[in-house]
Amino acid sequence: MHELRRDPITGRWVVVLRENGMGPGDFEVEKHEIKGGANCPFCPGREGMTPPEIDAHREGGTERDKPGWSTRIIPNKFPALGIEGELNKHGIGLYDMMNGVGAHEVIIETPDHTKQFADFSDHEIEKVVWAYKNRSVDLRGDKRFRYLLIFKNYGRSAGASLEHSHSQLIALPIVPKRVKEELIGSLKYFDYRGRCVFCDMITQEKQESLRIVAENDLFISFCPAVSRFAFESWILPKEHSADFSYIQADSVVALSNILGDTMRKIKKGLKDPSYNLIIHTAPIEERQRDDYHWHIEIMPKLANVAGFEWGSGFYINPISPEDAAKYLRGIKV
């Protein structure tokens, strides 16, 4: 009999397949061939092909928009939202709308075209995490914005159009629906029990020890009990904290370490799958929330899995998170 599990945060039900489910080796993945950086606008030496940089981590003595950087942040050349102008909120009859004001930035994570995130050293990942933090601190000062969405698409099936390793940041004048759902669910749980649902989750995960992928002093990475996707993995700071952008230096190091481990395990264990990585954090200026806990969600895109939820609103997970975590835990990196 398959099992229905309910997510304690959003109340969403997920079907975990128990019969004819899949083993870790049964998943097909999209192949990633690096075609080379012959025309890649993210490679050093082609800085002129991108909009002027917003920020970069550079060697001393190198100039803006010239080589010599290790991470580089630029506006997206085809932004989903534009930085200029006012929101101009208005309605037409039944419908509400506003101007698409926001920021859409690209974080180029490495000058090396052939290096993917899972190949980075912990120190290289630290630089990327610092870039996330610094951009968040800068953008959270803009009063027009309500939410900062940081994410990474790896592979075509995850929505990436360029192969050079990069992440994106979108600053939004609204809180996206799924984030809102999560916030409402967390608040409900907090109202009822007086505790943060994510903190409780960490406690239960540590007690049961069934779904943990990796752990260090400050962070834990596990496959959530109600995983929507095969090998879905979350990384949470053990200490309660609502807003990612306030992360401290020691936590950056610990996060980079566990993020590196998790991504390397996924790459090695699942034959380099495409994935989406999303930082879930509190809306701007809500860092004091006791009910919400920032975290990272990693969703590998494995064939034979996609498709259904979109149409039906039902998530089907062909492998139990217990089996998935056990497998990833066993991968040596």
Binding site: M1, R5, G11, G311
Partner: protein, 343 residues
């Protein structure tokens, strides 16, 4: 153009962003390269290859699980839910669980090996709709079920598998689905505030503005919603208010068949038979022993409809995770293009 638009029912914001310069023509699909299809268990004559049928519209004097049927319903060979057993609801610390009790049926829409429902005759599509209604009504009798999900995956990317034989699926679930609940709650809130059905208001505004309507025949319209999540997302709505799909009259069934056929034919001609998901949004079952106040105004506040979501963009992964949709194609442009397409 960049615009944020809010869905008036569930309050989801989406971005219409045309910076990536997509014209309707840009979404035309390449010819389907899936040639792996070798064998089809859904064709007439292959009845023994499916589990025994649950129901079929058959020619008089034909036998169950033999040929001579128009529409045939069989249990899924890999069911997500099974009819036997108890729910056994239980908790494990903070996590709630129950057994996957339910039903999962496949509606084979034609005995011939035809891929798209729009290629069938209006009368045959009407038979499919009659079968949908019959199965929903039958499954309602099982008190363990709360909701029926009726959907259709067309094309490999949409989850249809490699066999290109027109079919739809019904899943009876023991729980109410989150996405359904969201819509019901949104519709109820609107009703409490305005004492009108939000979908009826939508139909009225769409007909007045006439910018997003694709087909308007008899009692039905197909329209691209103002806050479309996806290029060419299309909803089919009945002009007569009703929360229950099963309440369709015989003549409405035929009209709906016409609108479905026209809409999907246009879509197919306009962007070359794209993969899509089609989902019926219907009111949940209302049982006698329901909680007081629960679904009290549903008959007034909710309006059944069909949502068609073509899978033309590749961005689904990120949007799954964040719930944040970026649509590169204004629904007004898509509607204009589809309206002019042959249908």
């Amino acid at each position: 153009m960049r615009e944020l638009r809010k869905d008036p029912i569930i309050g989801r914001w989406i971005i219409i962003s045309t910076e990536r310069a997509k014209r309707p023509e840009d979404f035309k699909q390449p010819p389907d390269a899936t040639t792996h299809e070798k064998h089809c268990p859904f064709c007439s004559g292959k009845e023994a290859e499916t589990p025994p049928e649950v129901f079929a519209m058959r020619k008089p004097s034909s036998k169950p699980n033999g040929p001579d049927w128009d529409v045939r319903v069989v249990p899924s060979i890999a069911p997500l839910f099974k009819a036997e057993g108890d729910l056994n609801r239980h908790g494990n610390g903070m996590y709630d669980k129950m057994n996957g009790v339910g039903a999962h049926e496949i509606i084979i829409e034609t005995p011939q090996h035809i891929g798209g429902i729009y290629e069938l005759s209006v009368e045959q599509i009407a038979n499919v709709i009659r079968t949908w209604i019959y199965r929903i009504t039958e499954l309602e009798k099982d008190e363990r079920f709360k909701y029926i999900l009726l959907f259709k995956n067309h094309g490999l990317i949409a989850g249809a598998g490699i066999v290109r034989h027109a079919r739809s699926q019904i899943i009876a679930t023991p729980v109410n689905l989150k996405r359904v609940k969201e819509e019901l709650v949104g519709a109820k809130l609107y009703y409490e505030y305005k004492e009108r059905c939000v979908f009826c208001d939508m139909i009225k505004q769409e007909l007045d503005e006439n910018k997003r309507v694709v087909v308007d025949i008899d009692g039905f319209i197909s329209v691209m919603p103002f806050a479309s999540r996806f290029p060419f997302e299309t909803w089919i709505m009945s002009k007569r208010h009703s929360c229950d799909f099963e309440s369709l009259t015989e003549s409405e069934i035929v009209d709906l068949a016409k609108v479905l056929k026209t809409t999907l034919t246009k879509l197919s001609n306009a962007v070359h038979d794209p993969p899509y998901n089609l989902v019926l949004h219907n009111a949940p079952f209302r049982r006698k022993k329901r909680k007081p106040g629960y679904w009290r105004t549903i008959e007034e506040d909710f309006h059944w409809h069909i949502e068609i979501m073509p899978r033309l963009t590749r961005v689904a992964g990120f949007e799954w995770g964040s719930g944040f949709y970026i649509n590169p194609m204004p629904p007004e442009d898509a509607a204009k293009f589809l309206k002019e397409a042959e249908g």
